[in-house]
Symmetry: C2
Subunit: 207 residues, 2 copies
């Protein structure tokens, strides 16, 4: 997780730990935050594994050995690191649909190939739909017996999940449209709604 995120960020440009952490928490803002206590040990491990290397920050040729005393350590990806990142990008396991895993994978979608993107989105959708069905069933089964607050909690959870399914549907439709503008012979009319999600919509124009 952390490792993957670090690889992704260093893929864009070399960085030192402190900055890495800030960018990490900005990137994943909605999902996750990491502390130094995990960051630095992870960097160590990754260096030992050969995926990243330290780089002494460019000395201006004039001031050669100024003071890299306990200096900033700038990390950059090695060739192996780049490979590893590609590997992790494409490796869509059963856990890739988990909240956090999905978030991180999604954050690096622009570095992911179109087919893998689609696989991930569909996997996530299935997962979220399962959760939705579970919640619906539980609600239908116990609606009468639940106290006001538990009910409120479950309904709010259900709505959040329904929203996410809609979001994923849009993303998937978009991916399909982008990837095969003239190919797919199966969704000519009906720009929204895919038959599975029931029609409990009612959206309004975005802010």
């Amino acid at each position: 997780m952390l490792e993957f995120a670090i690889l992704g960020l260093l893929h864009e440009s070399p960085m030192h730990g402190y900055e890495l952490r800030k960018r990490l928490n900005a990137l994943l803002g909605a999902f996750r935050a990491f502390s130094y206590g995990s960051l630095y040990p992870t960097l160590r491990r990754m260096k030992a594994a050969g995926w990243i290397s330290e780089r002494v920050p460019e000395e201006t040729p004039d001031a050669p050995a100024l003071t890299p005393k306990r200096g900033k350590v700038v990390y950059q990806l090695t060739a192996e690191g780049k490979e590893r990142f590609q590997e992790l990008l494409a490796e869509v396991g059963p856990a890739t649909s988990d909240d956090e895993q999905f978030g991180v994978h999604f954050a690096f979608f622009s570095k992911t190939s179109a087919d893998v993107r689609l696989r991930i989105l569909e996997g996530r959708r299935r997962r979220v739909e399962e959760k939705r069905e579970g919640l619906r069933a539980a609600l239908a089964r116990t609606r009468e017996r639940l106290d006001r607050y538990t009910l409120e909690l479950h309904e709010h959870g259900l709505e959040a999940v329904e929203r996410e399914v809609r979001w994923l549907n849009e993303l998937i439709a978009h991916e399909r449209a982008d990837g095969a503008p003239t190919a797919e012979p199966h969704a000519t009319r009906r720009s929204r709604g895919n038959g599975d999600t029931d029609a409990a919509n009612g959206q309004q124009a975005p802010t």
Copy 2:
């Protein structure tokens, strides 16, 4: 967390581990799931701490020592356990606004006193509002530089957070109305909207 949830469930009725886990995951459906690997050791700890006790399932007086060989172990709350639960209910620390902590606390709201409920809801709202502001600032700051997907992720996150603020506002208003139908001399008109949350609403009737 687990401990708190167990106390809460056993507060309703005695149960054995297996059932406990099922009810636990049903109760927190949207938030969390626990595995046996954590459940049983936790039960042990709690028993050692004196919060719960095992109860040999009522033998029918006719068949005295039938076969409780490796029988079901039914756990029930002790007096100390009940106290502990009340303590945890009322103890609103800085972490009570965290996603999971909040979810569990909320699930037991019907056993929580009105003033604590309000404190928890307001704490949560503040937390979520902070997150919202962070996301908004980040979006405003970097909107141009972000790739399509990161943008999509952040916007979806922001919307989710905005939804939760609205939800919390409703809950808080409801609590206030319930708790002090005639008392509070400070919210006579304006049944909704609390000045802080900006007016990006636009809700429709619930399902």
